[in-house]
Amino acid sequence: MGGGGMSATIILGVIGSDCHAVGNRILEGVFSAAGFKVVNLGVMVSREEFADAAVETGASAILVSSLYGHGEIDCDGFRDLCIERGIGDIILYVGGNLVIGKHSREETERKFRAMGFDRVFGPDADLEAVTGLLKSDLEKRPGKG
């Protein structure tokens, strides 16, 4: 459902009590231009809202942004919730200023991967590269012909 590649539906949003709106709009522009059908939930989105939106829209991926440093608390249990909602195999990306303080990139990535995210990006991610990764991840999805 939703399919992969150019016509895939993806969910965007900024998680938790985070109201950084600008970057999210830029992401919407970039992913729309890359041919994705973008459903942008805006700022201050809960985990449940991400999952519910993905169910109704038949989305293939959820891209979670977190800019204010509380990403670790907000994103904890994200994959488990998707499993509960019956979309356990959906592609999950997370990106932004994910944690406060000095943590190595590897350590942060390990934490978020343990929560079930397929890819973890810092604030300086190259969006073109992310778009490419997403397309190739969608191609590799189970059940994708």
Binding site: M1, D18, G42, V55, E56, T57, L67
Partner: protein, 467 residues
């Protein structure tokens, strides 16, 4: 001289009025009522019609509506409770229906037995945005195809993901199936109108007859609509929502009808959310109708008292002993009138009505919380903001006649999780003393402008605070 007869067939009383159109304004000439006989709707209708015809000087046009015989019952099926299922329920209510039952996710065998037992007039099958989820939808369609094995099947209206429509048609081949546009084609773009129109069409073409209205249709040559649907259309008229009908109407109005079994609440002309608020959830409709099946003055009196106790209603501003005593007294009264449903209004009804009004309003209204974020304080809003509502209109048997309106809840009020409820702050109460609005709403199907001009004039302002 142009004249209009409007009739509202209620479950216990049939009400009617004769209006004359004078200078683009309706003038009420006569009001008539009779008992509704559940076994023969035509009897009460004929009495009212004939009495009004005697007073008529010409050939009046006729518009009538019905909420008799259980009204229009709709079973709502969606996927996510807060998304397509919520839309399905709102659509059913806006079409004048009552939601007999509702189901999210996948329909179970038990759900099917519930549906077969309730025999709703229409099953509204929704789910998925266009191009979105099909899995639940197709599964639920297959389940509904099995209903006939339970000895009953009814019309299904499909208003979900359009990409699944062809397969739904195949799955429900040979059943009575109607297909219309998705009520939620995109997550942020509700489109209830096509489904509303289709529900109305199904009511007119298929359901009227079974509701005991066949003889009336054949006799008058006119078709009725469900009463709440007519009222909803009336409140949708732009002039009522935005125009200067009420000079004091700055921020919208709420119309209430508290009956024996249910409380009906409509909000209309409500200002859009303030700038800078972060909005969560589906966009709110305007008008918006909600119906509470557990809040009423007779059949639902016990449920209303139970809801009030659960929400701590009696405790507000009272000691625990006083609260318990008051709750016990009202519980006894509710027990009695829920058995003797034709008991005349008593003093206790004012408190019961206050319970119905308060809880129906709290459920209808949205809520807001303050969130401290890294970039300062932000207000997050869910649902409809009624804080600017300036007028509450009471209609229907009790609110049209009561000597003093039930008190409105006094903001600020907060729900259990600390969200502030967005309730009307300083609204004035207007009483539809002759129960004319539902009749005006019918007349508006023929002459909307003239009906609108009369609408504010038939209301009498009452103070919330006199006793």
């Amino acid at each position: 001289m142009e004249e209009i007869i409007a009739i509202d067939l209620g479950s216990t009383r049939t009400k009617g009025a004769l209006f004359r159109v004078e200078e683009e304004r309706l003038r009420p000439l006569m009001r008539e009522e009779a008992d509704t006989h559940p076994g023969d709707l035509e009897e009460g209708f004929s009495r009212v019609l004939e009495a009004l015809l005697v007073r008529s000087s010409g050939k009046p046009s006729l518009a009538y509506s019905s909420s008799a015989k259980g009204g229009l019952s709709i079973c709502a099926v969606g996927i996510v409770p807060e998304l397509t299922l919520k839309m399905a329920k709102q659509t059913a209510l806006s079409a004048g229906g009552k939601v007999s039952s509702h189901f999210a996710w996948k329909l179970t065998e038990e759900d099917l037995r519930t549906i077969a037992g309730e025999r709703p007039d229409i099953i509204l099958l929704t789910g998925g945005t266009d191009g979105g989820n099909e899995e639940y939808l197709l599964y639920n369609a297959s389940q509904l195809a099995e209903l006939s094995s339970l000895g009953w099947e009814g019309p299904v209206l499909f208003a979900g993901n359009r990409c699944a429509a062809d397969r739904v048609r195949k799955i429900l081949d040979g059943k009575e199936l109607y297909i219309c546009k998705n009520i939620l084609p995109e997550l942020d773009r509700p489109e209830p109108e096509p489904a509303r129109g289709e529900i109305r069409r199904i009511f007119l073409q298929r359901l009227c007859e079974g509701k005991g209205l066949g003889n009336i249709i054949r006799r008058t040559g006119e078709h009725p609509l469900p009463t709440p649907s007519v009222l909803f259309d009336f409140l949708s008229l732009g002039a009522l929502r935005e125009g200067p009908l009420f000079p004091e109407n700055g921020g919208g109005m709420v119309l209430f009808d508290i009956g024996g079994a249910t409380s009906d609440c409509y909000s209309f002309g409500v200002r859009p959310p303030a700038d800078g608020r972060v909005l969560r959830g589906l966009p709110e409709p305007d008008p918006k109708r909600s119906v509470e099946g557990d809040l009423g003055l007779r059949v639902s009196a016990q449920a209303a008292v139970a809801a009030a106790e659960a929400e701590g209603f009696f405790r507000t501003g009272r000691s625990a002993e006083e609260a318990d005593a008051q709750a016990a007294a009202l519980r006894a009264y509710a027990g009695r009138v829920s058995r003797e449903t034709d008991a005349p209004p008593a003093d206790e009804d004012r408190l019961l009505a206050e319970i119905c009004l308060t809880h129906a309003l709290v459920r209808h209204a949205g809520r807001m919380r303050e969130a401290a974020t890294a970039s300062g304080t932000v207000f997050v809003q869910e649902g409809k903001d009624l804080t600017g509502v300036s007028a509450v209109i009471g209609t229907g048997g009790y609110l049209s006649r009561c000597a003093a309106p039930p008190a409105l809840p006094a903001p600020p009020l907060f729900d259990r999780t600390g969200w502030e409820l967005l309730l009307p702050g300083r609204a004035r109460f207007f009483q539809d003393t002759d129960y004319l609005w539902p009749l005006l709403a019918n007349a508006a199907r023929i002459h909307p402008g003239a009906a609108l001009r009369l609408a504010p004039e038939v209301l009498a302002e009452r103070s919330f605070y006199e006793s």
